[in-house]
């Protein structure tokens, strides 16, 4: 499982405050602890508070890199914020550009731009592409899969290795009226996305989204995680500090025969 740790995000109060006060220690502590907890990448999201998003992205990246060499996931809906992060990011161990839709009303070529940026960032740079387009987030299975297929096709046309592509079928909060049908839809979509290319693209989700605003957040997150792993999910943006979640992940992967069983398998489990 390629785990992208979610905590360095300006939407969290402590990170927002650290950004405002330029407090490196809070960020570096989160970076270290998430790495130790088993993260494969650290997500970096400036949130909405900072006026200078590009400068803040660069400050976060540089601050993290002072103490950790773990690869980063630059998380923004704005191309120029990601580009700013890339200018200072060490991409030797990989980097994820998070994330691009298939296209936007304001920018038909947005995915192409991400592919171009990823190519410039080196052979280990990956992209998270969302199954949404200029019409927004699709509600049905078929449109999700159709968008994923177009994303894969564009990547292939550009010679971009499908193993560097993460498809995010976008999980919506289950508590939102009418959205309760979506988790099951997404699982079905995953089954189809997996077979769009050989080698298959990665499939990722912003896991904590599913429980947004709900009671029993951790339980909902880890239950959906177990279900999604059984449908081919091999990456997630998630809370790596949630020990129960990590145990469910280890057990799901073991039950899917992705990890060899041993009596101490929980101890041995380190996400790859």
């Amino acid at each position: 499982m390629i785990l992208i740790a979610e905590r360095i995000n300006g939407m969290f109060k402590d990170v927002k405050q650290a950004i405002a006060e330029k407090n490196k220690q809070v960020i570096q502590d989160l970076a270290k602890r998430q790495t130790q907890a088993g993260a494969s990448y650290l997500d970096v999201n400036v949130g909405t508070a900072a006026a200078d998003q590009q400068g803040t992205m660069q400050w976060l990246v540089e601050t993290i890199q002072e103490t950790c060499s773990i690869p980063l996931s630059l998380d923004s809906q704005k191309t120029d914020v990601i580009a700013a992060g890339l200018k200072v990011a060490n991409t030797d161990n990989g980097i994820i550009l998070n994330s691009s839709p298939l296209n936007k009303k304001t920018d038909e070529e947005v995915l192409e731009k991400y592919i171009e940026m990823a190519n410039q960032a080196g052979p280990k740079a990956s992209i998270i592409a969302l199954t949404m387009d200029k019409n927004g987030v699709p509600q049905d299975i078929d449109t999700r899969v159709a968008i994923a297929a177009e994303i894969v096709q564009k990547a292939m046309e550009k010679g971009f290795d499908t193993q560097r592509l993460f498809i995010d079928p976008i999980i919506l909060p289950v508590k939102v009226p009418g959205a309760q049908v979506q988790p099951a839809n997404i699982l079905t979509a995953m089954d189809q996305i997996r077979i769009l290319a050989e080698p298959a693209p990665h499939i990722t989700v912003g896991l904590s989204n599913v429980s947004q605003g709900a009671a029993e957040r951790s339980l909902i997150n880890r239950t959906f995680l177990a279900m999604a792993v059984s449908h081919g999910l091999d990456s997630a943006i998630a809370d790596v500090f949630d020990q129960e979640l990590m145990n469910v992940l280890a057990t799901s992967e073991m039950l899917m025969n992705k990890q060899i069983y041993s009596d101490s398998y929980l101890k041995a489990y380190k996400p790859t």
Binding site: Q259, I260, S262, D263, S264, A268, K270, T272
Partner: protein
């Protein structure tokens, strides 16, 4: 019709380890042996993905073996009672890459030798040959825990491969291998789950996983080799998939297993061909099969089998 070339690539790789310490590294070895490093299955991927060439360790028994068939004893008849000369012969005449000193003699049901004997053998073999050593206990937990730490100490700093530890008996040898700076063999009874468990247990004691070699009780041709093969293949695939608890190089005990079977040693067996050939063939076939599953170090006995297997290795790992 052209056959399409199918190349899988993997993220992980088998650990690369070096056995033996030269003078500059605090030992007295004149040569070292490096194994592992494969980034693909055997025959898969490019030549660079094949990793290091597998190596052959010839068995030297610490006390004269009483149960060896004549065909096997014959090449060693002048050295069977002298492990140092035996080791020398195995290196100089039969081309072993390293020596496995097998301490059968300390087993209470065999020669029942004591620690001073084992230490003496270790020192003499270290003196006689410059290659790295594998130091392998007798399999009786009590005797191994009592004697192998002393053997380990006698070879301190030589960066030997010490074994074996099991799920039920790992603490003493793991601690001493750590203290004396040796590599360690973790053993499992043809069981991938237990293999992983032993690795976790020794890792929990602070033993570096990068210094572990795994051993699955080997099955000979006709006697469970398919289990050995599929378990080793599975371990290799787990290593390539990035499982750090399964990324160790693998050692197989082919010599003992092959010479245990009746086909290798039964003299009066009409229709089976001459006994002089059967044993070496059995041993070579077993070794070559396991090399294809991903074995890195092969313990062997008969010089003719060693020659065949060396030839195979040199042709495959160029």
């Amino acid at each position: 019709m052209s056959v399409p070339e199918i190349v899988d690539s993997f993220a992980g790789q088998v650990n690369r380890i070096t056995l033996g310490a030269a003078k500059t590294d605090g030992g007295t070895r004149s040569s070292t042996v490096t194994v592992g490093g494969a980034r693909n299955v055997v025959y898969g991927g490019s030549a660079e993905d094949a990793g290091e060439k597998p190596v052959i360790a010839i068995d030297v028994i610490d006390a004269k073996p009483e149960d060896w068939p004549d065909v096997l004893s014959e090449p060693y008849k002048d050295v069977l009672e002298n492990p140092a000369d035996w080791a020398k012969k195995a290196i100089e005449e039969f081309g072993a890459d390293l020596i496995c000193v097998k301490f059968d003699g300390i087993h209470p049901d065999k020669a029942d030798k004591d620690a001073s004997h084992a230490v003496k053998v270790t020192q003499e073999v270290l003196k006689a040959v410059g290659v790295p050593l594998i130091l392998w206990g007798c399999g009786n937990d009590e005797r191994d825990n009592q004697i192998m730490p002393k053997v380990s100490e006698a070879a301190k700093g030589e960066n030997c491969l010490l074994g074996t530890v099991t799920e039920d008996n790992y603490k003493s040898l793991t601690a001493i291998a750590l203290a004396d700076n040796h590599h360690l063999i973790t053993e499992a009874p043809l069981d991938i789950n237990i293999a992983k468990q032993v690795n976790i247990l020794v890792s929990d004691m602070g033993f570096p996983l990068e210094k572990v070699v795994t051993f699955q009780a080997t099955g000979a041709l006709g006697y469970g080799i398919e289990y050995s093969y599929s378990i080793q293949e599975r371990q290799r695939l787990a290593a390539l998939g990035g499982d750090k608890m399964m990324a160790m190089p693998v050692i197989c005990d082919v010599g003992y297993e092959a010479w245990r079977v009746k086909e290798a040693k039964l003299e009066d067996a009409p229709g089976w061909g001459p006994v002089q050939n059967r044993g070496p063939l059995w041993e070579a076939a077993t070794a070559i099969c396991l090399l294809q599953a991903g074995a890195d170090i092969i313990r062997m006995r008969h010089p003719r089998a060693v020659a065949v297997v060396k030839n195979f290795i040199n042709q495959i790992w160029k």
